[in-house]
């Protein structure tokens, strides 16, 4: 059976056309990212069957959900999916427990892979079960919404900006739960977002949408480092790298991370973590500077041997964005055009990247 998600969907509305042809991994978190009006939510609704794409083909981990050529269109309630809406949309006439049980009761016992207690524990809802939705905070409502969706033991979890309606404090309350979801349950997730920080923290795969079309689709690190995408022009352009914890210096309180591919080390200020754990970090382009010789006597901790693989004028005209490879890991550096000419950068050139700041995401 074909693993992954295969979606060829076309939706025609007056003034808006969604036309996508996507192959997405059947595991991990895929972020659908783009400005508002780019069709992220429409795409998610088509996948859920809430919007009827006139022409389409949709297969999710081997299960056919839509095939217009064969006149097949599975209604939403027959699709093994979980959907979390932007506003939690809890059933106001049912308490938390009965909201949670609503979908859980409707799937055959043999198909229940997520138990009530498990979902309640995962999202920290134990003390809320008898409450009515009107008496929950925004963050609590959203957690109930997520648990309720999980309890249908979905083969695909669709999250439509589940944090957009929440303030920063509540966002930070829910993000750890979403990360646990990512780590503890093996359910592929499609995550709609227009918040770069959420994408950087949660996503493994990134789909970039603009005006109903797919601009790019690929692994997160590679896609963020692509110079041909509008992402590179953003003020906070940068890459996300995932390193493996290899050690901790108790005296200086520095954690050592091995980058994938090469064994190059990053050292970040962080509390000790178990060796072997994966840690996600964001490195912003403006925090990376370049040097032709290995700098000596510098206060900058992280010094990585890199190779130039491309460049792009950055917004404003004075800067360029240089794409680098560090043993297979892409990196972006934002330097002035003047420095570029002084260094005489050319593709394939080997040099040193100095990383001034590494932000630990999760």
């Amino acid at each position: 059976m074909a693993e992954g998600i295969e979606a060829r969907l076309r939706l025609d509305y007056p003034g808006f056309v969604l036309d996508v042809d996507l192959r997405l991994p059947g595991r991990g978190v895929t972020a659908l990212f783009g400005p508002s009006g780019s069709g992220k939510t429409s795409l998610l609704r088509c996948i859920a069957g809430l919007e009827r794409a006139g022409q389409g083909f949709l297969r999710v981990n081997g299960e056919l959900w839509q095939d217009s050529a064969a006149h097949l269109l599975l209604p939403t309630h027959r699709r093994a999916l979980g959907y979390v809406f932007q506003e939690a949309s809890l059933f106001e006439h049912l308490n938390v427990r009965r909201n949670l049980e609503y979908g859980w009761k409707r799937i055959p016992e043999a198909q229940r892979r997520v138990g009530l207690e498990q979902a309640v524990a995962l999202l920290g809802l134990g003390h809320l079960l008898e409450r009515m939705p009107q008496r929950l905070s925004g963050g609590e409502r959203q957690r109930v919404g997520i648990a309720r969706a999980l309890l249908t033991s979905p083969r695909l979890l669709l999250l439509d900006e589940p944090l957009a309606a929440l303030d920063v404090r509540l966002k930070n309350e829910i993000l750890p739960y979403l990360e646990r979801l990512h780590d503890e349950l093996d359910i592929p997730v499609l995550y709609v977002s227009h918040a770069p920080d959420e994408v950087a923290r949660l996503a493994d795969h990134l789909v970039l949408l603009e005006q109903g079309r797919v601009l790019a689709s690929g692994p997160l690190g590679d896609t963020l480092a692509r110079l041909d995408l509008p992402l590179a022009l953003a003020e906070d352009a940068g890459v996300v790298v995932e390193g493996r914890v290899v050690g901790h210096d108790a005296h200086y309180q520095l954690l050592s991370l091995a980058l994938p591919g090469g064994g190059e080390l990053l050292r970040v200020a962080h509390a000790p973590l178990a060796t072997g754990r994966q840690l996600r970090c964001k490195i912003q382009a403006r925090d990376v500077s370049l040097s032709l010789q290995r700098p000596e006597g510098s206060s900058i901790l992280n010094l990585l041997p890199a190779q130039v693989s491309g460049e792009l004028p950055a917004a404003g005209g004075a800067h360029v964005l240089v794409r680098l490879e560090v043993a297979g890991t892409p990196l972006l550096a934002r330097i002035t055009r003047y420095s570029r000419d002084q260094l005489g950068l050319f593709p394939g050139q080997r040099l040193w990247a100095q990383v001034k700041a590494v932000a630990v995401l999760a």
């Binding site: 809430l50 309630h77 979980g82 959907y83 949309s89 106001e92 006439h93 609503y102 979908g103 009107q134």
Partner: protein
């Protein structure tokens, strides 16, 4: 108590008529209101107008056409006759049919408002939680529309109790069959029996006030729709 057996019979008949009419109207009005709330059909406007007609027409107009339609030569009359049901005018069944038409907008409109206010989101949520269309309707739409159902029931009942013109046109004035309280009051006044008329009229006034009071009090206490 100055009320005689004829008055009590009229009260009993009125309550029976209003109860039966309300129950039947809830059964009929719910699908109509649901359809109006969700359809994109071009028939929506004409059907809405048709449902609202009893609000503006004089009851005598409704009564007149019902009388003609249900009479021996009318289409409804011919249908009921061929079904072996006989003729509806001047019968309790005829009163029920007339009352249903007369009170239809009072039942459909609160339900329609409730379904519109609820929007499609709760139903979409239920669909993503594996509930099929009927399941969604009974476990989500109806419970969420409960305040609307309550309003519809109360208004339908009260309005049916208060009808006069349609009843007189198609029911006439047959004791224990079609003579409801409003007609009985008219009879008492005609006969200059003001004391009995007062008791009946005052009772109607108090009843109507209390029922509307109950309706508006419950509205005030209820949390707003949706959130």
């Amino acid at each position: 108590m100055p009320l005689g057996p004829a008055d009590l019979a009229a009260i009993w008949l009125t309550l029976k008529l209003a109860t039966l009419t309300t129950l039947l109207l809830l059964l009929l009005g719910t699908p109509i209101a649901w359809w109006l709330a969700h359809t994109r059909s071009r028939l929506k406007a004409p059907v809405s107008a048709l449902v609202a007609l009893p609000l503006v027409l004089p009851p005598t107009v409704i009564g007149f056409y019902l009388l003609v339609g249900m009479g021996p030569n009318g289409p409804i009359g011919q249908l009921t006759q061929s079904l072996g049901l006989g003729l509806l005018p001047f019968s309790f069944a005829g009163l029920v049919v007339g009352s249903m038409i007369y009170s239809l907008p009072f039942v459909v409109q609160p339900l329609h408002n409730a379904f519109v206010a609820m929007g499609t989101r709760p139903l979409e949520v239920a669909a993503t939680l594996r509930a099929g269309p009927w399941d969604r309707f009974f476990t989500v739409a109806l419970p969420l529309a409960r305040p609307g159902l309550f309003s519809a029931g109360v208004l339908g009942f009260a309005h049916t109790v208060g009808e006069f013109g349609v009843v007189l046109m198609i029911g006439g004035n047959i004791p224990e069959k079609t003579r409801v309280v409003s007609v009985q009051i008219y009879d008492r006044v005609e006969a200059l029996e003001y004391a009995q008329a007062h008791w009946l009229a005052g009772g109607m006034l108090a009843f109507s006030f209390l029922i509307l009071l109950a309706l508006y009090s419950s509205r005030r206490l209820r949390p707003a729709w949706g959130n």
